[in-house]
């Protein structure tokens, strides 16, 4: 394969998203491959990598069926010596948890970096889980950048650490960092690892006899991981003589909000910033020996705070998100903001224009686009639900979750990727008569195939609607792993009876016919699947524009 060497400009600042900073760091670290499933706020990491891979041909990149397959592909790259990055949103790590947890036991060869984007505040997610907990669970290292430049530096370092300690290294990002732009300077690139294809099977076959030895090895490496954390430049401790007895611990982006308010404090506190985990315990002890009380500012779960509070009484009062009366100075949910941190520091709020002057304002929730094919599907579901009042509809994750809102109110649940099918099966198993599952094409391929196998196996009395808009729409119209033409054979190949498997075209004209078809299949005592097809309106517009530009280019070349 012809390879052009990427020569990044290491002299000019570029305005990069935090996600893009991670992507360029992975390129400059010499990755052989990049894998991901799209998920806000992590998507732009892989979008950037795909564009660069196409431009340079220097490494492989592709969207995967889901985060688990992405993680496994990354392990395969490592097994033959190459470096790989796998990117996902926080809940994606739940899907990838099996290979992730076990990867820490294998004898990783090429560095594996797991870039995980948490979404505190739930801008585009169903929960606020904190990926630092996963890193500790797997007994690996976690780096938590506070800004875009650090996202670059830490991702570069994470590859080195992964190879030094033979563990997958987590780079924990948060929404504001992923989707904030700031100037970033790249560093000279490193050459790619040779691909030699000679793994030691004893380090990769996790049979109990090997796994026990490898687990012991991982446990034996823990002091070395802790030692790294204690001495690396990402954790910094500043002790001041005139701190008034106050010590601050910040982690990741928490530092930004602290520094934002620092000029307004009468005395600058002593300050420990944590950017690398496991926790730098000696540094924490040095801070605690120096101050009389602690305030902990961390984005997400109170991970540091819990470790410090423990079960026995702390010798110092600790202020943060948990603890007794007077100690909770920050909310447990939502994001940190300059304002909440300001309050926690005991500063008065900044004066503002009185928001009451705005008067009562209507909310403006996101909604399905004008011309979206899902509107046609939901119009039919609404018609069905009006006629038959006892239809339970298990929904799923994607643009079509917006069918939950008025005027459709078309779904009753939305829990995690693929859950619609399994939950519909459960509802039917329990004896409910009219059960629908609604899922998108990409979510079906991500996590819907295996529960459909369960439903086939039991010929469950349920109807599955696959809303096939031929793209991953919510995250920005990425291509699905299989084209819509291959979706039908996948479904019938699983064993869905062909007479109860329908592929129909979504269109306002066909709404009534479609509603009748759904009604018939809901009445059928057994499993049925209806695929409703029409391209996403946003993707269709984009494709039209691309064709126009292409034609324009061809004309210009003539």
């Amino acid at each position: 394969m012809a390879e052009s060497t990427l020569t990044p400009d290491t002299t000019a600042l570029q305005m990069l998203l935090g996600d893009e900073a991670v992507a360029f760091a992975a390129i400059d670290a010499g990755i052989a491959a990049a894998y991901a499933y799209p998920g806000t706020p992590s998507t732009e990491i892989t979008e950037c990598l795909l564009a660069e891979a196409e431009r340079s041909g220097a490494f492989h990149a592709n969207w995967c069926a889901n985060e688990k397959t992405a993680m496994e592909a990354a392990l395969g790259v490592s097994m033959v010596g190459g470096r790989a990055i796998v990117s996902m949103k926080h809940v994606g790590l739940n899907v990838a948890a099996d290979p992730f947890m076990n990867a820490a036991l294998t004898g990783l060869r090429g560095g594996v970096v797991v870039a995980v984007a948490d979404d505190p505040g739930m801008h585009s997610s169903q929960n606020e889980q904190d990926s630092r907990v996963y890193a500790e669970f797997a007994r690996t290292l976690c780096l938590e950048p506070g800004d875009q430049q650090e996202a670059y530096a830490m991702t570069r370092e994470a590859f080195e650490l992964s190879e030094r300690f033979q563990v997958p290294v987590v780079v924990r990002l948060v929404t504001r960092l992923c989707h904030g732009r700031a100037p970033v300077l790249r560093e000279p690139p490193r050459a790619k690892n040779p691909i030699d294809g000679a793994p030691d099977p004893r380090s990769w076959i996790l049979l109990p006899a090997n796994a026990r030895r490898l687990w012991r090895g991982l446990l034996d490496r823990q002091p070395a991981l802790a030692d790294y954390s204690e001495h690396c430049g990402f954790n910094t401790l500043v002790l001041r003589g005139d701190d008034g007895g106050l010590g601050i611990i910040t982690t990741g982006a928490g530092r930004n909000h602290y520094l934002e308010n620092l000029p307004d404090l009468e005395r600058a506190p002593s300050h420990l910033h944590i950017g690398a985990y496991p926790l730098p315990k000696a540094m924490i002890r040095r801070l605690c020996a120096h101050v009389e009380r602690l305030l902990i500012l961390e984005e997400g779960y109170p991970v540091v705070e819990r470790a410090l509070r423990g079960v026995l009484q702390s010798p110092l009062p600790i202020f943060g998100k948990e603890g007794g009366p007077g100690e909770c100075v920050l909310p447990l949910d939502g994001e940190l903001t300059p304002g909440t941190v300001r309050k926690a520091l005991g500063l008065p709020p900044r004066p503002t224009v009185d928001p009451k002057q705005a008067g009562a304002l209507p909310t403006r929730p996101p909604q399905l686009c004008e011309g979206c094919p899902h509107r046609d599907a939901y119009a039919a579901i609404s018609e069905l639900r009006e006629e038959l009042h006892d239809v339970v509809v298990a929904g799923d994750i994607g643009c079509y979750t917006l069918g939950a809102l008025p005027p459709y109110r078309g779904i009753d649940s939305c829990v995690c990727m693929g859950a619609s099918i399994g939950m519909a099966k459960g509802a039917a198993d329990a004896g409910h008569q009219r059960v629908l599952a609604v899922i998108g094409d990409s979510t079906f391929l991500h996590s819907g195939v295996t529960p459909l196998m369960d439903a086939v196996s039991a010929d469950t009395n349920m109807t599955l609607l696959i809303l096939d808009n031929q793209t991953v729409a919510m995250t920005g119209t990425q291509p699905t792993v299989l084209s819509d033409a291959r979706l039908g054979p996948v479904i019938t190949g699983l064993g869905v009876p062909p007479e109860h498997c329908h592929v129909v075209h979504a269109h306002p004209k066909h709404r009534h016919e479609f509603a009748e078809l759904v009604k018939r299949e809901v009445a059928h005592q057994g499993l049925s699947v209806i695929v409703v097809q029409r391209e996403c309106i946003v993707a269709a517009r984009r494709h039209k524009e691309e064709r126009r530009q292409q034609a324009h280019g061809e004309e210009a070349n003539r």
């Binding site: 600042l13 305005m15 998203l17 806000t40 706020p41 998507t43 732009e44 801008h123 585009s124 800004d147 504001r176 960092l177 989707h179 904030g180 732009r181 700031a182 100037p183 982006a253 530092r255 930004n256 909000h257 602290y258 520094l259 934002e260 903001t337 300059p338 304002g339 300001r342 709020p349 900044r350 004066p351 503002t352 224009v353 009185d354 928001p355 002057q357 705005a358 008067g359 009562a360 304002l361 209507p362 909310t363 403006r364 929730p365 996101p366 909604q367 399905l368 686009c369 643009c399 917006l402 919510m474 995250t475 920005g476």
Partner: protein, 194 residues
Amino acid sequence: MKTDIVLAGVGGQGVLSMAAIIAAAALREGLQVKQGEVHGMSQRGGAVQAGLRLGDAPIHSDVVPEGGAQLILSLEPVEALRYLAWLAPDGVVMTAAEPFENIPDYPPLEDIHARIRALNGGHLIEAARLAKQAGSPRATNIVMVGAAAPYLPIDAAHLEAEIRERFRSKGADVVEHCLRAFALGREAGACIEA
């Protein structure tokens, strides 16, 4: 020097492009910049907000602090009112006057306009009309960049250079329309200031 701006509008209106043009021009000016964007779910016709922080010293938080913004720059009048808690007491609200009505309970427009006019620094710009006048109805957000220009710590020439650069690939006509939209917006913004 520090200028915090909250940019507001409805998903699809061009809030992010507006932020990107101002951010890039600020870099040309030699300023430090942090730009917060909104991706994902809320882009689908929902309320969208982006933060832009400009300064001559390092900027820390990725988001504009409550009470920190000198300017709310909005492409939609109802959206302009949503973020007053982020506006400094002497801050300015500069918004397109034309509504984007994709919700059933949109309040009477005169009422919304009156609320904006009642603010100390509240200004309505007929951005859609000016964009049309400039030759490109899609350039409403460029009109608003122009309207904001007198309040930005950025030389207008840098903003124009950025607009040229950004739309170059779309052809000379589009560049011309955008520059005219910028100039009309700037005129409208400057009139208010005087």
